[in-house]
């Protein structure tokens, strides 16, 4: 069937089978490989994307259900080509990743969290990423990354602080 998807600010008209998940649609039809297929039944969180700014599992949505909403993938969070978002920067600095499989989903989950709550407690960060499984890091550096990003993003518009 013919569907229209709004992904990372661009409109796409696509021909898909109704059973195509949003995840497969992003990866196979739009070549956005940042959304990762892990368990494909909603448990691991590796396929997380933002739907209207909120973290959801793209393996638990069929592509036709995603018509009319704004989808953001990891490819859509960078401010410009070759740049990283403050959250991505923080993940690099704190070594918030090892194999990288869960990382795009962790970063997007952090984006959704910080958009909603600019000053999360450690407990709130842990709760926010509780649906994203990481088998390498032990989560400590991921929590640290989100905390660091939150601190920087809160400070970003403070006029008294020197730029960079």
């Amino acid at each position: 069937m013919r569907i229209n998807l709004a992904v990372n600010g661009a409109e796409h008209a696509l021909d898909v089978e109704p059973r195509t998940t949003l995840l497969d649609c992003l990866r196979d039809h739009l070549d956005l490989k940042g959304a990762h297929a892990g368990c494909e039944h909603g448990v691991c969180g590796a396929c997380t994307v933002l739907v209207d700014g909120v973290a959801v599992r793209s393996c638990l949505m069929f592509a036709p259900q995603a018509e009319g909403v704004a989808i953001t993938t990891i490819e859509g969070v960078t401010p410009g080509p070759g740049e990283l978002s403050p959250i991505q920067d923080a993940f690099c600095e704190t070594h918030g990743m090892q194999c990288g499989y869960c990382t795009p989903a962790m970063v997007l989950t952090a984006h959704a969290l910080l958009a909603d709550n600019p000053a999360p407690t450690r407990e709130q960060i842990v709760e926010a990423i509780s649906g994203n499984i990481c088998r390498c890091t032990g989560y400590a550096q991921i929590v640290e990354a989100i905390s660091l990003a939150a601190e920087r993003m809160r400070g970003a518009n403070r006029p008294s602080e020197p730029a960079r």
Binding site: P18, T21, C39, E40, A55, V56, L60, Q65, S130, G131
Partner: protein
């Protein structure tokens, strides 16, 4: 983990959805899809057609309705989680909502979807049974009400007739000084519960429990009420030892679920512990509220 092929239709009204369901006996309703899509991925469900009701805006609401709070079937769980009416009027529901899946599944999952699937471990089903909620469904232009305790028939089985769609649920609001408690045990945070327990208590002016509801989920085919314990404990001061023995007694006759994760004996034992804990929390919560009100006067 790919679904079998199906046709997809999107309904914009309840009437249209009912007509689509009536026209195809292998059609199934999809709203948030957070239970149905994994079942389809694992091929535990193979509907020939999905009728998407998520865009029926008339079914997304939370409002007061004659001594109850009415919630529409397509209302997303994340909206209930943040709703001030729910927080003020349905404290037990507000307490239980964060236990449903993860934030990412609550962002899409709906109230009606969770109830209609009737997973034995579903928190919403447990709350509906504990609060004596009334569910409504529509089939062929006729709306029917059904009490929650009659709606849930078995694991993933409900009394919903073929071709019908759930339209909403009304959860009664209790008056007076209300306290609530909710507990569950699972392998990981936000994962399916092995056992869950909910309690809501109204504290009377005499310092005794005037009204009690105790529910246990995930332990049996569908959520249950511990009616015998409720009767035994009403109009008492909820002495901890009496609460424990009353819930153990009320759980003596259940037929607990048994699987790789938890044996029946384990579920029965944990059900008693969690039910007693939920009652203790609810009682402490009700006392706290009373004290606060007294100080305010």
């Amino acid at each position: 983990m790919k679904s079998a092929p199906f046709e997809y239709s999107r309904a914009t009204s309840v009437d249209e959805a009912c007509a689509m369901l009536a026209a195809d006996e292998n059609a199934r309703v999809i709203a948030g899809g957070q239970t149905l899509v994994p079942m389809m991925a694992m091929r535990l469900a193979r509907p020939a057609r999905l009728v998407d009701i998520a865009r029926i805006t008339a079914l997304s609401y939370i409002r007061e309705d004659a001594g109850a709070v009415a919630i529409g079937a397509t209302t997303r769980q994340c909206l209930v989680e943040r709703d001030i009416l729910v927080a003020a009027k349905l404290p037990l529901l507000a307490r239980a909502i964060p236990f449903i899946g993860h934030a990412a599944t609550r962002a899409r999952g709906t109230v009606g979807g969770s109830l209609a699937h009737a997973d034995p471990a579903a928190e919403l089903a447990l709350i509906a049974v504990t609060l004596d909620a009334v569910l409504s469904y529509r089939a062929a232009n006729k709306t029917t009400d059904i009490p929650a305790r009659e709606f849930f028939v078995g694991p993933m089985v409900t009394a919903l007739p073929e071709g019908a769609m759930l339209t909403g649920v009304r959860l009664p609001v209790w008056s007076g000084e209300i306290g609530v408690g909710f507990h569950e045990v699972n392998a990981r945070r936000s994962d399916f519960a092995f056992v869950s327990a909910a309690a809501q208590i109204e504290r009377g002016n005499d310092g005794k429990a005037k009204r009690i509801a105790i529910g246990v989920g995930a332990a049996t085919d569908c959520p249950i009420r511990l009616y015998a314990a409720e009767m035994q404990l009403t109009n008492t001061t909820l002495d901890a030892a009496k609460v424990k023995s009353a819930v153990i007694e009320a759980l003596a006759d259940i037929e607990p679920l048994e699987d790789l994760h938890a044996t029946g004996a384990y579920r029965r034992r944990v059900a008693a512990t969690l039910a007693a804990r939920a009652v203790a929390d609810a009682w402490a919560h009700a006392q706290e509220k009373t004290q606060r009100t007294t100080h305010a006067h």
